[in-house]
Symmetry: C2
Subunit: 198 residues, 2 copies
C-alpha cells in the first residue's frame, strides 16, 4: 500500500479487536482522523490505563482494578449465595437481569482437557477456600449449557457436595418469547423432562 506508514500500522493494530476486518479498520481510522481526534486520543489513554491497571479480584477472579471487586465488597449483597459463571461478561449478563443479589465466582473459562485447561486453571483452589469459610449456603452453577459448561458444572457440583452446601444449576428450557416450532430438539426434550407442576 502506498499509504502513510502510521495509518497502515493503525489499520493493522485495530484488527486485534474482535469482529474488525480490514475494511472496518480502515473506516475507523479515517473516522478518527477526520472527525474525532479527541475521541481517539481519549480511547488511547483509557485503553492504556485499563490494560495496565485491571487485574483479577482476589475473591471472585473477575476483572477489576481494585484488589477485591465492588461486588465482593458490597455489604448489601447476599454473601451466602455464590453464583459460578464462566466469564466476567456472564457476571454482567446476570447483573443486567436485576434479579440476583448474591455474589459471584468467575472461572475465566471451562474445563477443556483437550486444550489443557484443568480445574487448577479455573481457580478451583480459591473456590474450595471460599466454601471452606462456611459463609456460603448455596452455590448456583451458571456455566454455559454447552458440553464443556455442563462438565464443569458437574465437576463443581461434586466438589461442593462434600461440604454439605446446597448446589443448584440454572434452569434450561424453552426461552421466554420463543416459539416451540423453532426451538432445537435437545432444548425441547430437556424442557419436557424438567416440566414443573403449574
Amino acid at each position: 500500500m502506498s499509504f502513510s506508514p502510521l495509518i497502515n500500522s493503525l489499520i493493522t493494530a485495530l484488527r486485534c479487536l474482535p469482529g474488525v476486518g480490514p475494511k472496518s479498520a480502515q473506516r475507523m481510522v479515517f473516522h478518527l482522523l477526520e472527525r474525532d481526534k479527541d475521541g481517539g486520543r481519549e480511547l488511547a489513554r483509557i485503553l492504556e490505563e485499563t490494560i495496565c491497571k485491571v487485574g483479577r479480584c482476589q475473591q471472585c477472579r473477575t476483572l477489576c482494578e481494585e484488589p477485591v471487586c465492588r461486588l465482593c465488597t458490597n455489604p448489601v449483597r447476599d454473601h451466602s449465595t455464590l453464583c459460578v459463571v464462566e466469564t466476567p461478561a456472564d457476571v454482567m449478563a446476570v447483573e443486567h437481569t436485576g434479579g440476583y443479589r448474591g455474589i459471584y465466582f468467575v472461572l475465566m473459562g471451562h474445563l477443556s482437557p483437550l486444550d489443557g485447561i484443568g480445574p487448577e486453571d479455573l481457580g478451583i483452589d480459591l473456590f474450595r477456600a471460599r466454601l471452606a469459610t462456611g459463609e456460603i449456603k448455596e452455590v448456583i452453577l451458571a456455566t454455559n449449557p454447552t458440553v464443556e459448561g455442563e462438565a464443569t458444572a458437574h465437576y463443581l457440583a461434586e466438589a461442593t457436595k462434600t461440604q454439605n452446601i446446597r448446589v443448584t444449576r440454572i434452569a434450561h428450557g424453552v426461552p421466554f418469547g420463543g416459539e416451540l416450532e423453532y426451538i432445537d430438539g435437545g432444548t425441547l426434550a430437556r424442557a419436557l423432562s424438567a416440566r414443573a407442576p403449574v
Copy 2:
C-alpha cells in the same frame, strides 16, 4: 452498572469507533483484557502516535504524517494528471485498482451549502494554485456520483476550464459483473445515454 469503573469507561470510549455499539464494545474489552493485552497496549500506543503525528499533505491534502505525502513526492508517478477525490479512503480505492499512475487532490468532503461547506473548506485555493503551476495537463474529477459529488465536480470543472486544462469525469454506468435487471433506473438511463461505439 456494578462493573469496574475503568472497564465501563473503556466500553464507553470504544463507542467512538464507527459501527461499535454497547455489546460489541463490551466484547472488545473482554477480548483485550482476557486474551490480547499486548495487542491492546500496541493499539493504544499506535493510536496515540497516529493521532498526534498525522496531518494533511501540503500538496494534496490527504492524511499523512510527513509534510508532503509519499504519492506526491514519488518521482515515478505521472505529475501531469491530477485525480480529484472526496476522501483519503477514495485515494485508497483508486490505488487498489492498480490502474492509475497520476497524483491526487483530496477535497476532504464535498460542497454542501446547507452544512455550511463551501469551496474554501475543500481547499479550492490550493487546488487553483496547483493548476496555476502549469504542470497539470488533465484533471480527472472522481467525486462520488451523488447530488453533492456531482455539484462539486461541476464547480471544479468550471474552475479548471478557465485554465485551458483538460477536464474529465469518471464514467458512470452499469457496474462490471452487475445484472441489468437489478440496476436502478437512473444508472441504467445514464449507461444508455453514455453508450459508446463497439
